[in-house]
């Protein structure tokens, strides 16, 4: 059977012009024979043969004499099998060993590559979170003027949800509520401005920096000035706890974090103007809502207003919810009121005893005036 199969390959030997030539490879009983196209014949006996695997494809088989003067090579896929059949199983073993060691060299490289890629990726992700974390935890280092700028930009960018109410009785009543709470704000430097909007929505919000918008729907639905003050304490707490700024930083991530760290508020302000058109600056996470409730309760307590009035307002909403579709407005941004009522009550229980004083506001007169100006 020897010599039945021929393989395309080549030879390296100094006697060949140019040092190498393509050749036909044949496996004989004693060794590997190569015949070049010019008729030169070379042979390596099996017992003198060293084996290697390589070439551009990585699977070319090289057979060499021990003195390395003669090399015969072949890339034919059938060649290793034929070599095993004709030259003996020890060749197969040798071939397997060489292939394995070559693969291991490649493996080492691939492993370094994989490790390097993983490290780079980890550094990137880690760096991102570190920066985000730094930005978040350094929120205290950002001046309050940033909140005010952001709030102003957002306020200017959005259109009020209804016609602004300028009636002194109505506006002064809300201002009095805010004035009662303001001295007890734990963050100084905010400027609380009050805007009343004629809208049936039972809602109120406070932009970063302190611009407060109150809807007439809230004033008409609430049962007392203390309830409205309770809602205001919650909304003001969002500004005091800087939830707007935090929210922007969380949603905008790295860009904002970097901007804040290098002290550039300009980009943030233009961003806030965009965000102001959506609800992004006035809709917060559940944790932020809970924090605003807790802070609001503390503020009410410090201002000597019964914090349970806030819980009372939640109860009212809960009862009226099916009847007033408008109530859904406030609920959509302030969910889970059973939970919130519990939070408020729990906080109140922790507080030291306090002599509560009611608001010096003529509630009847306020309601009457709201009727007169045609508040919805």
């Amino acid at each position: 059977m020897y010599g039945a199969e021929e393989f395309a390959g080549g030879v390296f030997h100094q006697s060949i012009e140019g040092g190498r030539a393509t050749a036909t490879i044949e496996l004989t009983a004693s060794g590997v024979k190569a015949v070049t196209s010019t008729g030169q014949t070379f042979e390596i006996r099996y017992q003198d043969c060293a084996l290697d695997v390589g070439g551009a494809s990585g699977r070319m088989v090289f057979l060499r004499t021990m003195d390395r003067r003669l090399t015969i090579f072949c890339e034919d896929r059938r060649f290793p099998k034929a070599l095993e059949m004709d030259a003996g199983p020890e060749f197969a073993e040798q071939l397997a060993t060489v292939q394995k060691s070559r693969w291991r060299e490649g493996f080492q490289w691939r492993m370094w590559l994989a490790v390097g890629t993983a490290v780079c990726l980890l550094c990137l992700v880690g760096g991102y979170y570190a920066l985000l974390w730094t930005a978040k935890s350094s929120i205290g280092a950002i001046p309050v003027s940033a909140d005010i700028q952001i709030g102003k930009a957002a306020f200017d960018a959005r259109t009020l949800e209804g016609p602004q109410v300028t009636d002194r009785v109505v506006v002064d009543a809300v201002k009095a509520m805010v004035a009662r709470l303001e001295p007890h704000a734990e963050l100084k430097g905010l400027t609380f401005d009050v805007y009343v909007v004629n809208s049936s929505d039972i809602n109120a919000y406070c932009l970063p920096g302190g611009k407060i918008v109150v809807f007439t729907g809230l004033l008409k639905t609430a049962q007392s000035a203390e309830q409205v003050t309770g809602v205001l304490s919650h909304e003001m707490s969002h500004a005091i706890k800087r939830h707007g700024l935090r929210h922007v930083m969380e949603s905008m991530g790295i860009v904002v974090a970097v901007e804040l760290l290098v002290g550039d508020v300009g980009g943030l302000v233009s961003l806030a103007a965009d965000l102001g058109k959506s609800a992004a600056l006035t809709s917060y996470s559940r944790d932020a809502e809970t924090e605003a409730d807790v802070t609001g309760v503390k503020m009410l307590h410090a201002a000597a207003i019964d914090p349970l009035e806030l819980a009372g307002f939640f109860e009212l909403l809960k009862q009226q919810q099916p009847e007033f579709t408008a109530a859904i407005q406030w609920l959509s941004t302030h969910p889970q009121h059973d939970e919130r009522i519990a939070t408020v009550r729990g906080e109140v229980a922790k507080l030291p005893p306090q002599e509560y004083r009611g608001m010096e506001i003529d509630w009847e007169k306020l309601q009457q005036r709201l009727q007169e100006i045609g508040a919805e």
Partner: protein
């Protein structure tokens, strides 16, 4: 070496045996000066034509399959198209490369040669251009995901940035990344680090190409990343 040994010798196609082509202005600004006779054909990389007689006909075709051509454009650095030049009457054609350097020509005679991305300049019609996967390591090493495999019969011209020098590799040899231009199929290429992991990344001699023989490699005396680095430093 997938070509069988019985490949026919170059045939005489009732015309002169070989297209007359001379490489001029070597080694710095090499260009190929070709005299085309009726029936002659030269295939060249898309941007290679510098000047030609008015009667030279140029036909553009894909260099390989469509998908491969696209991949090549994206990863391999070689142009998407090749141009086929022919002439109905004696004409001349000058082909060149966009960067200063030498041009080497090799008569394949049934052999195969691998070219690094961007090296291919021109070939005779008997040469087959094939695209081969060079591997992820080659890509990381800055040598491209693909390599051009030229095989068959006829001359192939490839270009280098700077001078071209060859080396017979018997065992293992190290070439700095970007200096390798072409190599024979018996050559095994791996990308490795010059030193340890630290010195490789901070010592300037980052990745190197590890070449294992036997076989011949063609190297260029300059490399492009060296040029860009030098330019950046002087801007």
């Amino acid at each position: 070496m997938s070509q069988p040994h019985s490949v026919l010798p170059p045939v005489c196609r009732n015309r002169r045996f070989i297209i007359e082509a001379t490489t001029r202005n070597r080694p710095s600004f090499a260009n190929i000066h070709i005299k085309l006779e009726p029936g002659d054909k030269i295939i060249a990389e898309a941007d290679a034509m510098a000047s030609m007689s008015a009667n030279v006909q140029m036909q553009t075709r894909w260099s390989g399959g469509v998908m491969k051509a696209v991949l090549k454009r994206v990863f391999g650095g070689e142009s998407l198209f090749v141009n086929e030049f022919s002439a109905p009457a004696p004409a001349e054609l000058v082909l060149t490369q966009p960067f200063p350097g030498d041009i080497e020509s090799i008569d394949l005679k049934g052999n195969t040669l691998f070219l690094q991305p961007g090296a291919f300049l021109a070939c005779e019609p008997g040469v087959t251009l094939g695209l081969g996967w060079a591997g992820m390591a080659s890509f990381v090493g800055g040598e491209g995901l693909f390599r051009l495999k030229v095989s068959g019969n006829g001359r192939v011209w490839f270009s280098a940035y700077g001078g071209i020098f060859t080396r017979e590799i018997t065992d293992e040899y190290i070439v700095d990344t970007g200096h390798l231009v072409a190599y024979e199929p018996t050559i095994n290429i791996r990308v490795g680090m010059a030193g340890g992991i630290f010195s490789s990344f901070f010592g300037g001699e980052g990745l190197v190409t590890k070449v294992r023989g036997p076989g011949r490699i063609y190297m260029q005396s300059r490399n492009f990343s060296g040029l860009t680095a030098w330019m950046n430093a002087h801007l």
